[in-house]
């Protein structure tokens, strides 16, 4: 059976990975760009944050620089796609491939860095509370961004590029902007997760995309039915609807972690830790086999 401690850890990791899900949501759902940079930018954030903490700086500085480097990775993917006309999938793969070497460079050629006995953001409080505050701030920022006129343009390019361009939206700049924000969020997630678990590994980004996508899809299934009252003030309603769509990603991430923890710890069908990818893949297939949103 699942213990309370295991459940708490699942929720904590779920909240942290909620930031990854938000980043994936921005690329895959909002701007409709299948970005595979995330497997690299997640580790970049983790590596930068670890090196900064190791050098004795404040862990919040680590988060800030993780965000900057992640955003730069997104910028690189966008520029390769738009300026060099490389296909979206391939440009993400190339950058993720390049980032593996860069991450090793950042980590001083060590494949892993231990943060045991180092000061992290989790040293001064309850991990769930700290994660919840950070995720709430990010949620409000992204919801505010997407509910603005600028955000409406960003949302439109993922739905109908021709329409967006005909209505005065610079599709190229918006695509790059979306990639920058998305990868900055994913890098922040990597940085927080590495501080949470106390070590950074160069291969810890493997499978990020699938985990993020699973979280987004589960979240959409769980929260898609909620509607706000029509008589609610329009600015608030618009913000709440966007906030809820984003919040669904975080809820999806937590649900995903709880499901995985239950599957691995409850000895159902003799499943073990090494079956994690099998369970994740089957879970996604099961969810996606249901009716999709149009």
């Amino acid at each position: 059976m699942l213990t309370l401690n295991e459940l708490t850890i699942a929720i904590e990791i779920g909240i942290i990975y909620g930031i990854l899900a938000l980043g994936i949501y921005l690329t895959f759902r909002t701007i409709n760009f299948p970005d595979l940079t995330c497997d690299g930018s997640f580790v970049t954030g983790a590596a930068v944050s670890s090196v900064i903490i190791k050098s004795g700086l404040n862990p919040m500085v680590g988060l800030f620089f993780a965000m900057l480097t992640g955003g730069t990775a997104g910028l690189l993917t966008g520029l390769i796609n738009i300026r060099l006309k490389v296909e979206d999938l391939l440009s993400g793969i190339i950058v993720a491939f390049i980032l593996y070497s860069i991450n090793l460079r950042i980590m001083g050629t060590n494949p892993n860095i231990s943060l045991v006995n180092e000061t992290t953001i989790f040293c001064c409080g309850n991990p769930i509370l700290i994660c919840a505050v950070i995720v709430a701030l990010i949620l409000f920022f992204i919801a505010y961004l997407l509910s603005s006129d600028f955000g409406l343009g960003l949302r439109t390019i993922g739905q109908n590029k021709k329409f967006a361009s005909a209505n005065g939206v610079n599709v190229n700049v918006m695509t790059i902007f979306g990639l920058v924000i998305s990868n900055a969020l994913i890098a922040i997630c990597g940085a927080i997760f590495t501080q949470y678990q106390g070590f950074c590994d160069v291969s810890q980004g493997t499978g990020c995309l699938v985990i993020g996508l699973a979280s987004v899809i589960i979240g959409e299934k769980l929260i898609s039915k909620i509607k706000f009252a029509r008589d609610m003030e329009i600015v608030s309603r618009n913000f709440c609807e966007i906030f809820l769509a984003l919040f669904a990603c975080v809820i999806g991430s937590i649900a995903y972690r709880i499901f995985i923890t239950i599957a691995i710890n409850s000895d159902i069908f003799g499943l073990k830790t090494q079956d994690l990818n099998l369970i994740t893949g089957l879970l996604i297939i099961f969810i996606m086999s249901g009716k999709q949103k149009c």
């Binding site: 509910s147 006129d149 600028f150 409406l152 005909a166 610079n170 003030e233 309603r237």
Partner: protein
């Protein structure tokens, strides 16, 4: 108002010249593949000609991308699924059109009560004043095309391009859309170019009709 000089688009338009005066309504006809849509794309900026110049209100905009020309040129596409965003509300579609040519900032929310009132006023003309919250995909083809028309006319664009806008509609919806053209474009003396294959429309609408043949325009 609109001046095209020696426009050349490879394999489609050859040394094409066109002048449209302010307030003029011009019909463009021609066989399939004659380059009508390419001509419109050249004006709207989604196609950059390899030769020639495009002037609007005396300004050379040949090298301006489509998103910068959006404040000057409004489009209504043949397919209403292209001219509106299926998964967005009627309000968001109208907001997109409302901000055409304006600076989209992070500070201003995309919705407001004032904008809603303005949109409802416009939507009365097509009977959709109570459908602001509906998804564009929930509207019928005719309603979506009518919405596209309202969106094209919501800002004070100098030129309106109508690309076979009734081609995908049944006769009843075509009639409704033509009523909007008559009321909001023709009678208000908007500068407009319209592609059509419909003989009735050729007889009813337009100050003049141009035929596109072998990449060149011929006056009818």
């Amino acid at each position: 108002m609109l001046n095209l000089k020696n426009i050349y688009v490879r394999n489609v338009l050859v040394d094409l010249n066109l002048t449209v005066n302010e307030g003029e309504f011009v019909l463009v006809i021609g066989e399939n593949g004659s380059g009508k849509t390419t001509l419109f794309n050249t004006i709207s900026g989604s196609v950059t000609p390899s030769g020639g110049s495009v002037f609007i209100a005396g300004k050379n905009i040949t090298n301006e991308p489509q998103y910068l020309r959006a404040k000057l040129v409004a489009n209504v596409f043949q397919d209403p699924k292209v001219g509106t965003v299926t998964n967005m509300s009627v309000r968001d579609n109208l907001n997109m059109a409302y901000m055409r040519g304006k600076k989209r900032t992070l500070l201003a929310p995309s919705c407001s009560k004032n904008r809603d009132d303005f949109f409802r006023e416009k939507l009365v003309e097509i009977g959709l004043e109570n459908r602001l919250d509906s998804l564009a995909g929930e509207l019928s083809g005719g309603q979506r095309q009518a919405l596209s028309m309202i969106m094209a006319l919501i800002t004070d664009s100098k030129i309106v391009l109508l690309d076979e806008i009734t081609a995908a509609l049944d006769s009843e919806n075509s009639r409704k859309v033509l009523q909007i053209i008559d009321k909001c474009v023709y009678k208000q003396k908007k500068t407009c170019l319209m592609i059509t294959h419909n003989k009735d429309q050729i007889n009813q609408l337009g100050d003049r009709t141009l035929i596109l043949k072998n990449g060149k325009l011929v006056q009818m």
